[in-house]
Symmetry: C3
């Protein structure tokens, strides 16, 4: 089992937990949990695989990924009521999933020999699209649109660090590990300490420029 | 004309009717009707074809599918005002379309030799994604998220029955027919008699588990 | 550099401007601008490329497209406050992008030898899907659903004109130019002078038909 497969399984499992928690907020039945959990879990990787033209989408080649998502969904269906604050749990689990999914996307794109720009984009997309689909379908405000939080920026920085390690030092596993750590620290720091980039603020039009 | 082609045409036509009815609720013009009807009609099958890597997407290989959707859209544009209750008509037509689209997806996946898990997922996705796109684009509450109704569960049960018939008895057409009947009966029973699975209800956290 | 490449770059740049302006309305940070701008800019062409099974998606073959979208996003991030009315700017830029993206889609489909129906659909999809993704993700009312405005109709008419010129007169560049002009004039006329098609209005059910 290669590192990429471990990353894929881990991101599937954690993203599925977030999907199931969102399903619990929408008070769906068990099949609804399975659906939203699976959509969240494999959404980002599916878009990645379609775009880079992998011969088979990862979870069709190996349906155990869907099985993993279903386990997570059932787990949440029977235990979510134990959580004090589901919104907060979703945010932290999503941060963990992001930190695993970005290196998973980066790793696939590196393996296929893509250039730096595509590697960074694939990392960000694999990280962001599953959660985006979950939020759009369930009509939550997408996490990528949450103002004043590092999300895409964390994914972007993680992907850049992966590239830097890969080309300066060498081993891909080290690059992916660095990517995961940087992505998680930035996202977690943003949630815990309010780290953020300046957001766009409209100002009145000036008279002269 | 094989059974799969008949199922595809039928699901395209009925889904297009539902799309056009949703377009009528949004008071769109004729092109809007054609767009939403087509999106609903071929959305699920398109995702299925992209995922299973069919050489050509079904409606690009044969644009008469889009023609069929357009006929349905024009029909609704000129007659929808005759309906007493468009929301109810959408629900029932969508149930019919679901009951045709699930076996269509199951059939394609069986033909391509996929395993049971992928067959079930393709059936559910072909059934659910067209309506999901329709509802997300038109900002209606997606039917898959409607609380306390069998929708994904009906599709799931239908796909399971198809598998059971296929492997226990044999002929694919019989399996697809059984799939359609089971899917429709469960969905219809849910709408008519309130059949449902238990939904997730949050309870206060317990002190001990 | 062929005409199709010029059209692709131009539509990427203008759509990216609209995406960044929508991001400014949502008060995102710079990475959010880059994300929404890129999604809008390459969304339509990506769906087109996946559906017609182009060997590589255009912006993966050539990541400068994403670079172009990023330039537009940065430009807007630092200058959007100079605009008096961003909603109006979005509408007009979107009209320009539509008028470039429709011929881009038509051109790709013609090049691949598709029939008239697929050519028209690819033109409309390339034109409409980037903006649709932008609006769905950012929770704006999709432009395609704006009542009483020509949008899809303008794209449809433009694609038809392209086909007519292509088969009656011949040269593809002329057909694409005519397509762009017709699409823009209809969309602009609709915004400036209120041109529209009749929209669906529900009437009470009649007693006899």
């Amino acid at each position: 089992m290669t590192l990429l497969v471990v990353l894929d399984y881990l991101s599937v499992f954690i993203f599925a937990l977030t999907g199931a928690l969102v399903a619990s907020r929408a008070q769906l039945d068990l099949l609804g949990f399975l659906f939203i959990a699976s959509l969240t879990a494999v959404g980002g990787g599916t878009v990645r695989d379609l775009l880079v033209n992998r011969e088979v989408v990862f979870w069709i080649a190996n349906p155990w990924y869907i099985g993993t998502a279903c386990v997570a969904a059932v787990l949440v269906f029977f235990t979510a009521h134990l959580l004090e604050n589901r919104r907060r749990a979703i945010d932290w689990l999503d941060a963990g999933a992001l930190a695993v999914a970005v290196p998973a996307g980066v790793g696939v794109a590196l393996n296929l020999g893509h250039g730096p720009a595509v590697v960074v984009i694939m990392g960000m997309m694999t990280g962001a699209f599953g959660g985006l689909m979950r939020d759009v379908v369930c009509n939550e405000v997408p996490l990528v649109l949450r103002q004043g939080e590092l999300y895409l920026s964390a994914a972007f920085a993680g992907a850049l660090v992966a590239l830097a390690v890969r080309f300066a030092i060498g081993p891909t596993p080290l690059a992916l590990l660095a990517c995961a750590v940087v992505t998680f620290l930035l996202r977690a720091g943003s949630m815990a300490f309010g780290w953020k980039l300046p957001v766009y603020k409209s100002r009145p039009p000036r008279n002269r420029m």
